[in-house]
Amino acid sequence: MQFRLEKRPQPSQLMLYLAPVLAVLLTMVVGALLFSALGYDGIGAVLEIFTKPLTNPLKWQDLGVKAAPLIIIAVGLSIAYRANVWNIGAEGQYVAGALGGTAVVLLTMKMQGPWILPTMIIAGMLAGMALAAIPAFLKTRFDVNEILTTLMLNYAIVQLLYFLLRTSWKDPMAFGFPRTALFTASQSLPYLWPGTILHWGVPIAGIVAIIAWFVMGRSVFGFQVRVVGSAPNAARYGGFSANRTVWLVMLVSGALAGLAGVLEAAGPFRQLVPAFPTGYGFTAIIVAFLGRLNPFGCVIAGLVLAISYVGGEVAQTTLGLPSAATGIFQGMLLFFLLAGDVFVRYRLRPVVARAQGEAA
């Protein structure tokens, strides 16, 4: 029986919500099979990774902390992607944000006051914007594809991080380890409740999502982004400048990635080390897609991917899985989601055998 894809008259609401759920389930199943094929305990691994974080209350805080940067970056990326601006440089903009915040830290090491942390945050956002401005400029002025430029800058800025940590930003007390000094109390993100690891970055993520939802849904800017991404000719006809839109969405996504970076540096890390770039910038791309480029979707998707991180850490210790293995799940998640997305717009129809001619 042959099948073909037939366009639905209207996008299927059912599949819209079902597709991400199916994607997660399929990832778990196929992941288990894959692991077993490679010699690990497949089912055990999957259960460890996906269910432990949910069933262990201690792990819930981990989820929140891991999800926060993913959500913030993903919200920014979803805005850019809606405008068809493919910012793949979130990882670099995230690191830039941390660099910006750390610069303020090193300048204010001997000082105190509630103004230091907000200054760090602003510096981080500006740094992310500055890095994102480069591909924005190259695209609008020279029509250079932003996928490659944002990507290349990721690698470049990470080298800058290594350089600074090895030389002028190095903690004199570090004795051979390239890292900055620990951030002081005024330079670190306070915790929501003592005794927990939930820091202020977590509610900030929620606030960012709410603001983004409002702006994208109600404002002219949100409309502009959607039109430019959906039909560039119509956008121009409607009086929207494509170049201005590219700038705006790159700066916004750069700023948000930078925000995530400085929050992460001032929160869980409380210092800057070479291991700081953990790939959140790339994972956030998956979060954005899984969340359907929608701010609240990004929140949920961020939590799902946080599960894969937290679970992956657990599996590292209990099963000996290498940390890079979480990439398998994340990649598969996106595969299954993209596949499932097709069924939102199309449905499967069997090809019927040609009807023989009736009597003329």
Binding site: R218, V220, F223, A234, Y237, G238, G239, G357, A360
Partner: protein, 520 residues
Amino acid sequence: MDTSPVPRLELRGITKRFPGVLANDNVGFAVMPGEIHALLGENGAGKSTLVKMIYGIMQPDAGEILWNGQPVTVANPKAARRLGIGMVFQHFSLFEAMTVLENIALGLDAKVPQRELEAKIRAVMQQYGLLLDPHRTVSTLSVGERQRIEIVRALLLNPSLLIMDEPTSVLTPQEVEQLFVVLRQLAKEGCSILYISHKLHEIKALCDTATILRGGKLVDTCDPKVETSRSMAEKMIGAGLKDIVKGKDRSFGAARFTVRELSVKSDSQFGTSLDRIGFEVRAGEILGIAGVAGNGQNELLLALDGEIPVGADAILMDGKPIGARNTSERRRLGLCAVPEERHGHAAVPDFTLADNSVLTARDRLGMVAGGLINSGKAKTYTGDVISAFSVKAQGHGSAANSLSGGNLQKYIMGREILQNPGVLVVSQPTWGVDAGAAAAIHQAIVDLAAQGTAVVVISQDLDELLSLCDTLAVINGGRLSQKKVVGEVSIEEIGLLMGGVHGTAEETHITAGAAHAVPA
């Protein structure tokens, strides 16, 4: 022994269904050898679908196709070509960046060595007078020349049936004549021709038989030499025809829209530069701009509505220079425009109608406050447009791409007209639109002009322009001819202008509206 001639092609009971629409319903007719057979119908009547099944692109759900008396299954275009069926599509299957020779090679099923192919092509071109340089890149050719590539491709197969799908929509009147010469020669040699069109006078001039489709059904098979244009039009449309109601003794007011020395350099390889275009439109006047596609119409519209930058004094509205203003500013001053591309330019296909209203009407009708969109106002306005223009849609929340072509065009025209513009510029207002919607759109344009708006209509359809417009100019190669009054200029002269010749030929006067009655 049965001595009646065997039809080259016969269709019996052909039916084809798509989700939501019955494209062909029990259609049947026959084409004899050497016959030029017209397939006549409005847009959406089912002609394209029928022909796609003859050429093997689709399969019928029911019915049979007989070739020289034998039932056949045309599984795909290759099989069609093997039978001897050639097709020249309305939308060319050409590769812009490749040469004529490469394009023809791609259209062939067998591998032919380049030199042999070139010799064969030159022979065919000689035989039928279709002259082309095989080594030119397609992007440098005019539309008429590109069509010749398609025809040569089809002729190389030595077809016994040649299908032409709306071939003349892109040709000047002179080029149409040249095409007819080629087709008549082919028919004399025994090749059957299936000629799809909705242009009645062409069919009367060229064809031996006409099969008329309407709404997927067969209406009649008749002899166009015997029928009148009006009778065939009525069969196509199915109802009594109604002429456009234009007020008598219309006088025009002051000049509202003036264009002077408008020049635009095209930045793309395939575009046309505009060269010192100038015209003036008075209040209440409808100016038509005729021309074959690809002569700068697109660029002209983009220049007029502000999507391409022009000199500050090149465009004046109500006496004020607006050339330096962007699209939004021009809208605020009262200039509304409708580009020819419905999907992706005039409207966003995935957006709702309400969102599409926000696209152009938001400033002029106050839908934006403090950077936020007032969706209530947008929805109300959309509702007004839908009811005033009888748009068949479920409401302001329908997606633009869920509307039929005619309904979407009605909505778009309505969206601009209800903004009460002082100047309206539209391009191809009824392209691909069914007759009923086309008539409604034409009437709306006339009514708008009657209220004092200056209207510019850019169109490839001469008949439309002649019945709608007060004055006419022709665009060719980015240059605009002098404005003429409709009723004081002949078709021949217009045809020559469209083809780029600026002399005058024998003039025969025609009166506006006589060549083609606009159906209701």
